[in-house]
Symmetry: C2
């Protein structure tokens, strides 16, 4: 895990019996580090997003949401489905599941400002990298570039990508605390932030709330910002492109 991962995440993982190896996300290459560890110790490497079975597993969330959306009294069959996006495993799994079962529900990725490699990759049709690897409260979704497998899936079945600021992510953490009674980490609240303050057409919106690994101090800071759902901050589009790119 990155050394700046929330203590709650590091401790929780150790509590489940794991050995946690920390690395510096600004100076070390995670892929090289884990490949080395796997070779050295004879371990199987399970990538966090860029693997067919990981993507398929995360896609079960798409199957569930399609079923739930159809079950609602309104019989929701057409809506944007906003998904928190790092490397794009969750988003591509959901996009594949929805393409097969509920094609009117279309995934739009949501990333933190400054780490919108997927939005720019989808907008340009070419894989784009982020300039930085650290520097956002959305720690769990600060991947350097789209996955080799996830980008083609999302190019075919998702987009355009949306971007929210760290302030909007923290405001969405506060909104989930106040209105949904859910504990979200900032990176798990970016889809909700885009649903609340993003540039979307009128009508129903589905947002994935995913990830609650947040330390008490940061959560306390977020919820003390107050409830801004009544006075929306200004939404932003992907860096350097229009929001509708």
């Amino acid at each position: 895990m990155p050394a700046d991962a929330p203590a709650a995440k590091i401790d929780g993982t150790k509590g489940l019996g794991a050995e946690v190896v920390l690395y510096d996300r600004a100076t070390q290459d995670r892929d090289a580090l884990t490949a080395g560890l796997a070779a050295e110790r004879g371990l199987a490497l399970i990538p966090p997003f860029d693997h067919p079975q990981v993507i398929a597993g995360q896609g079960t969330l798409g199957l569930e949401l399609a079923e739930q959306a159809a079950d609602l009294d309104l019989g929701l069959t057409k809506a944007p489905v906003l998904v928190c996006c790092g490397g794009g495993g969750l988003a591509s799994g959901i996009a594949l599941a929805l393409a097969a079962t509920a094609p009117g529900l279309r995934v739009q990725t949501v990333e933190p400002a400054g780490f919108d490699d997927m939005a720019r990759s989808l907008a340009t049709g070419q894989p784009q990298r982020n300039d930085r690897t650290a520097g956002s409260v959305c720690d769990a979704i600060l991947t350097p570039a789209p996955g080799r497998l996830t980008l083609p899936v999302l190019a075919a079945h998702a987009g355009p990508g949306l971007v929210v600021t760290d302030d909007q992510a923290l405001d969405a953490v506060a909104a989930a605390f106040r209105h949904l009674r859910l504990v979200l980490e900032p990176g798990g609240a970016v889809a909700l932030a885009a649903a609340l303050w993003g540039d979307l057409p009128p009508g129903p919106v589905i947002a994935i709330a995913s990830g609650g690994n947040v330390d008490a101090d940061l959560f306390a800071k977020a919820i003390r910002r107050g409830d801004r759902t009544a006075s929306p901050p200004t939404p932003t589009g992907p860096t350097g492109t229009a929001a509708s790119a």
Copy 2:
């Protein structure tokens, strides 16, 4: 509402279009106040707990939990069901539902220390009152005495009552934040507190988590206490009686 209700609860109710009338829970009688308002304005009074339809409505939670418990892989048919208890509406509704559909699941009420009128009433077979009407962080469940309808139901189908301290309630708020990713108010976390630290026989326990009207400052204070699920505080029984009374 009591004047010391969480601002989030007062503001949220106003936000839904209600007029909120505040009273002092230490010096004013809620029942007299609301009866006067109802007569003066020609309003229908909906009691918070002591009414057959309110109890029946809250009992739907018992139907749902019996269904979910039976659906679990373990096919849970025998367990204590811990329920946060003020006047006893929620507890008596669940107790009636379980008596009819899953008699092996038995309700035990959980109250804050110093406000354990129901535990003492169940232990003695006679309605008992609390000495105080205020003075606990569990604001929503500080009722003066059991309901006229709820006590006979609980005497027939529930008990013994359990009691937790305010510190245990706050520790349970922290545990729900950390492990369940749920926002609970202290009064909504007393059942979880009893499940974690109460004097219960070994085996599965069902606890109702109910109520998330908590202001950011109190929630921040609770979650900063840290996770005490690993080092349990000492449980307590009903005031002046053994925990197994």
